[in-house]
Amino acid sequence: RSRPTRSAHEKSARSYLETFGYLKKGRPEVGNLQLMGNEQEYEDDFRIAIKTLQEFGGIPVTGEIDTATKNLMKQKRCGRPDREDGEDEHRRKKR
């Protein structure tokens, strides 16, 4: 199976989501190894994170890195994460 390519937008978005707590920060040294066999879950987590960001920011929830999402990620903001570590442990894990 060929490795998926990641656009620059998606990479910066992923970095943004990890910085502000929407995605768990991955370990770069094993990042590619984890991708193999978990791609669907990888994509699902990313899409969910995008949706969560869009919902938090008050923009239309599409799950896609659209223009509104890009503008949101460019806006001036506080450096603290929006979702603190451990918050997911108290949330119901959605199917």
Binding site: G57, L72, K74, K76, C78, G79, D82
Partner: protein
């Protein structure tokens, strides 16, 4: 809003602008002023207080830095990340870092889209310093994206709710300056009162509760007041002398310094000298007694004395007409052997009513001069008052006195306009002749009226009893019917009175703690046990 979890354990926080990492482009004084305003946003909505100190050990240390600055959260130059702060804790807990690469504005400018309001960002970051996380409510101060600041900024409700949940709302100072037991204003003169002619020329002075009434500035508010006559005089100063004997009273320790009554070495509370004692004393019966002349040395009338026109007159409490008579009041109850008509805790003091008298017991025990006629304390009560039925202090601190089919409501000692009102006004039945007791039950804060075999719950807000009442007194297990009084004492317990005894009530179990009564006089009046009456109490 989202509460992160950590919070400061105290509300008086200190803050400081870092001495080493100050803004490179901003005036430090202006910066501190803006930071103080940002902290004040939170202080106004909560019990937090902020004091600026000049120390890097303050709770909240504010610093300005660029890129990497000794924490795991480097800044990114102008734009994007503006600042971050740490949640409450030791060390760097509570500290706030601002990106020194940003174009910080101390004063907001509408035409500057590039600049960033320091006030807006600081207020947000200080929210983190106090324990708040980001909020998803657009418009909230804790919304993570920069929204600028509006003129006349007011802390949004979402943030207010968050900070108050953590530290509580700011304490109200509504009652802080209202003196204890002082009415706002006396009622208008249209209040109807019964007037009677007095048989003596002296007027009866009413006792006041925690009010000055005898000072010069109280009697003559428009006259200039000097503490004492600062007028030199060639005559010696005049000091009135106390009388050389006091009337005998069983509740008062008596001491005699005159030759007629030599000082005794054994002062007993109820000691009564008799002719059989070795001391050359004169038998002084308990009743009647005669008031001595005050003062025993009248002030001499010095001619041309400049102080004659401005004397400092000593004050002596006026005696009521009753005390100038030689007849014994026949209906004054014996505090050690009587039942009570009503018992109430008013302004933290215990008032016990019997017939037309009442006792008043404060923090230091019994007040002297009691029992006193109830009409002296509340002059608007009927002059021919024989007894009261029930008394209680309402949650609004007004005093409700039930007499027969009417309620007298007092604001301190002043009758509230419109009163007395019939009991039927409050939803009680027309056929009800009187109440037995009334109280605000500390267990649930509700007001209850008792009469005979029934009781009602009274809604203070609506001004009437609830619709599904009356109910049977049997609900209050152990006190039976036709109680005399009930009240909640300072210990939070409920006490029911009947006859010469009382029960202590268990609010949780809704029953008396002990079926047998305790004698009232021993517990509430301080009477010796042997005088409390040997009659078995109610059971």
């Amino acid at each position: 809003f989202a509460v992160q979890g950590e919070k400061w354990k105290y509300t008086n926080l200190t803050w400081s602008l870092s001495s080493t990492r100050r803004p490179s482009q901003l005036d430090p004084y202006g910066t501190r002023s803006v930071l103080a305003r940002a902290l004040d946003v939170w202080a106004q909505a909560s019990r937090l207080t902020f004091t600026e100190v000049n120390s890097d050990e303050a709770d909240i240390v504010v610093s300005f830095a660029k890129r990497y600055h000794d924490d795991a959260y480097p800044f990114d130059g102008r734009g994007a990340i503006l600042a971050h702060a740490f949640f409450p804790g030791t060390g760097r807990g509570g500290d706030a870092h601002f990106d020194d690469d940003e174009l910080w504005l101390l004063q907001p400018r509408d035409d500057d889209e590039e600049g960033t309001s320091l006030f807006a960002v600081a207020a947000h970051e200080f929210g983190h310093s106090l324990g708040l996380s980001h909020s998803s409510v657009k418009g909230a101060l804790m919304f993570p994206w920069y929204q600028g600041i509006q003129p006349n900024f007011v802390l949004p409700e979402d943030d207010r709710n968050g900070i108050q949940q953590m530290y509580g709302p700011k304490k109200s100072t509504k009652w802080a300056k209202i003196p204890y037991y002082r009415p706002a204003e006396p009622p208008p003169t249209t209040t109807t009162t019964t007037t009677t002619t007095t048989t003596t020329t002296t007027t009866t002075r009413r006792p006041y509760i925690n009010q000055h009434h005898n000072r010069h500035q109280d009697r003559y508010p428009n006259r200039p007041y000097t503490p004492y006559p600062r007028i030199p005089s060639k005559y010696p100063a005049y000091y009135p002398e106390k009388p050389n004997h006091y009337p005998y009273h069983p509740d008062r320790r008596h001491y005699n310094s005159s030759e007629e009554h030599p000082r005794r070495t054994n002062h007993h509370h109820n000691f009564r000298p008799t002719e059989t004692t070795s001391h050359p004393t004169t038998y002084r019966p308990r009743y009647p007694y005669v008031q001595p002349e005050y003062p025993s040395n009248p002030r001499p009338n010095y001619p041309n004395d400049p102080r004659q026109d401005n004397p400092r007159k000593p004050y002596y409490p006026e005696k009521t007409t009753q005390r100038t008579t030689t007849t014994t009041p026949s209906d004054k109850p014996d505090k050690c052997d009587t039942s009570y008509d009503a018992v109430a805790l008013i302004r933290g003091e215990l008032f016990i009513f019997k017939n037309r008298y009442h006792w008043r017991i404060g923090a230091n025990g019994h007040y002297p001069g009691y029992p006193m006629e109830t009409t002296r304390m509340w002059p608007s009560l009927p002059r021919d008052l024989t007894h009261v039925d029930a008394v209680y202090e309402r949650p609004d601190r007004k005093i409700a006195i039930f007499i027969g089919k009417e309620l007298y409501l007092f604001n301190s000692q002043y009758l509230v306009p419109g009163y007395p009102k019939p009991l039927s006004t409050f939803g009680l039945p027309e056929s009800l002749d009187k109440l037995d007791a009334a109280m605000v039950w500390g267990h649930n804060g509700n007001t209850y009226f008792y009469s005979g075999t029934m009781y009602w719950k009274y809604d203070e807000e609506k001004g009437r009893v609830d619709y599904d009442y009356p109910r049977n007194m049997a609900m209050w297990k152990g006190v039976g019917y036709n109680i005399d009084s009930v009240f909640q004492w300072k210990d939070g317990k409920t006490y029911f009175f009947k006859g010469k005894g009382f029960w202590k009530f268990n609010d949780l179990q809704m029953r008396v703690e002990n079926e047998r009564q305790y004698p009232s006089s021993t517990f509430w009046m301080g009477c010796p046990t042997e005088r409390a009456g040997r009659r078995a109490g109610y059971k």
